[in-house]
Amino acid sequence: MKHRTFFWFILPTLSAMVLFIALPIVSVFIQSLFVQHEQVLVVSESCGPFGCVEETQVDTEATAKLREERPLGQFNGLATYFDRSHLASAEIAEVWRTSTGLPSFIDGIMDLKFYKALVFTLTYTFVVTPLVLIFGLAVAVGVNNLPKAFRGVAIFISLLPFLVATIVGSMILSWMVDGEGIIGATLQNIFNDPSLSIKASTPLMWIMLMVYGVWHTLPFAFITFYAGLQTVPQDTLEAARVDGANKWQTMISVVVPHLMPLVSFVTLMLLMDNFRVFEPLVSFQAEAHAQSLSTFIVSDLREAGNPLYASAGATSMLTILGVVILLTPVLIRTWRDFNAKVH
């Protein structure tokens, strides 16, 4: 294909991606360098019978005008990145100095908004991803053992939690685990503790969010592994059986190695999607117990009246940095594969 033709074919999709994915990232970066204008203050002297007093007033008109003219605000450099609600370098140093040991250091860090969100996001990502891989594979093997007639039904049912909107799925679960809902009430009866409530306990809320994450993404791992199982070479299985391997040994030394490329693909997808966890926290109304990086950004943008663009921008850039760090190993591997193919 000629360069010219290629250009015209790729133009619509490329311009959509550049305009609405690449440029917004630049825009986010620029926003993060500015802070909102300070209010314009007017000092006036009001003189009464007992002498003159200096009064400071906010000139609302001038402030509004300034904000209108330069909506970005004033240049602030990287200061937003290091302030109290982001990397909090000063506070970290303070915690480091005053802490008496690792537990108190961790406590001190968990008081900082950004680190709290980061810790939740990372915990969520690294708990949900391996669980989904393991259970997904187990269910895939199980369904593969089913008689053919039942497999279609099993796949149909399995697709439901995955394809339903995240916000809707997590809302359905949140009603069920509510203190008055079927699961919540049953648990209260089992443990004989009427005050047991997911909405009142941070550990329970974290566990619930992760259970939801596994429920929601397991089908993706399951379907991919199930498709992979259809392509396991029958000869190798036969050979393993002849050599006296039992089912479990066959699984570990034939099936799992065959699925390995799929495992790395699924891991990549899961890491990307789990790191941006957002909707379940909205549906479970978890803000009191858990914040993820995404909900942190949203709460800045929703700040009534004047959205904190700088703060949201700084968190966004740090989130993107997190994604880059997570995906670097995978990208390096792709790059090596590509070079190996070329040379």
Binding site: M1, I10, L14, P71, V141, V143, L163, I167, A227
Partner: protein, 293 residues
């Protein structure tokens, strides 16, 4: 043919059946429960005292005279005007799917047929774009969109959803076009067609299976999106998913949580039908990227 050893019930087999059945119950039960409960009153849906109330609808019978009630649906669709959100969803999803498929087929075809190195880089960039959390992009849109006065419009959201959709669409259609033999369009070009004519007359007629599969996923992305639609649409233009979410806050105050339940079931029902009819395509689409490469 199954040998005797294969059809015998071993412990391993029993464990694997039990696992699958447990999973299927966990997967299906919340939906069955909510669909059934959406025809009850709140006292039955949240039946703390006796869970069998939710099944037989004791309180529903007492309050409405029948074991099933459409009050939740009436409240959501008519009183809270959920039909507006349904209409908005139809418009936004329709245009998002059409535009992203048009862009995606052109781009995917070019990437599949170009042997140059930059095609690889476009695909890599698309992969990197696919990894960007949507919320970080949204925080980049807000300020410019407010400044240009295009915030809240359906058209803005459509084009944003198209763009967010592109990386995935591009990858899927690219791998689909790789499977269509090159000879087909090249022989048309030998016969004197331009590249575009060859694409239009030879490739377009045979590309529909791949386009339908990709279209299903574009549909799901636009239909299920919350991050973009909740931040970029004004109240009257809201689609179903953000409407359901904001419903939750407002109806909880008034004690009308059944409105939200009915709305959730209404928003989920089309997906049931979709999976029922297109299960094969969805499964093949989910695995296309993985199994082939």
């Amino acid at each position: 043919m199954a040998t005797k050893a294969e059809s015998r019930l071993t412990t391993l087999r029993v464990v694997s059946y039990a696992l699958v059945i447990t999973w299927l119950i966990i997967a299906a039960f919340p939906f069955l429960w909510t669909v059934w409960g959406s025809f009850k009153v709140q006292g039955d849906f949240f039946s703390k005292a006796d869970w069998t109330n939710a099944i037989y609808g004791i309180l529903t019978t007492r309050e409405t005279g029948s074991a099933f009630t459409l009050n939740g649906y009436f409240g959501a669709w008519i009183q809270e005007e959920f039909w507006r959100n349904v209409f908005n969803t139809l418009v936004i999803v329709f245009f998002t799917v059409c535009i992203s498929l048009t862009f995606g087929t052109l781009g995917g075809y070019a990437l599949a047929r170009s042997g140059f190195r930059y095609a690889f880089w476009v695909l890599m960039a698309a992969l990197a774009f696919r990894a960007m959390p949507h919320i970080t992009l949204v925080s980049g849109y807000m300020l410019p969109f407010f400044e240009w006065n295009i915030w809240g419009l359906k058209a803005t959201t459509i084009i944003v959803l198209v763009a967010i959709n592109q990386p995935f669409t591009l990858w899927m259609l690219h791998s689909f076009f790789l499977n269509i033999p090159k000879d087909m369009d090249e022989s048309a070009m030998v016969d004197g067609c331009t590249r575009f004519q060859a694409f239009w007359n030879v490739i377009v007629p045979v590309m529909w299976p791949g386009v339908i599969t990709t279209g299903l996923f574009s549909f799901l992305l636009a239909y299920n999106d919350y991050a973009v639609t909740s931040m970029l649409l004004s109240k009257p233009n809201e689609t179903m998913v953000p409407a359901v979410a904001s419903f939750l806050g407002s109806v909880q105050v008034q004690g009308n949580i059944m409105f939200a339940v009915a709305a959730v079931v209404s928003a989920t029902a089309p997906l049931f039908v979709l999976i029922l009819f297109f299960q094969r395509q969805i499964v093949s689409g989910l695995t296309a990227g993985a199994v082939k490469g």
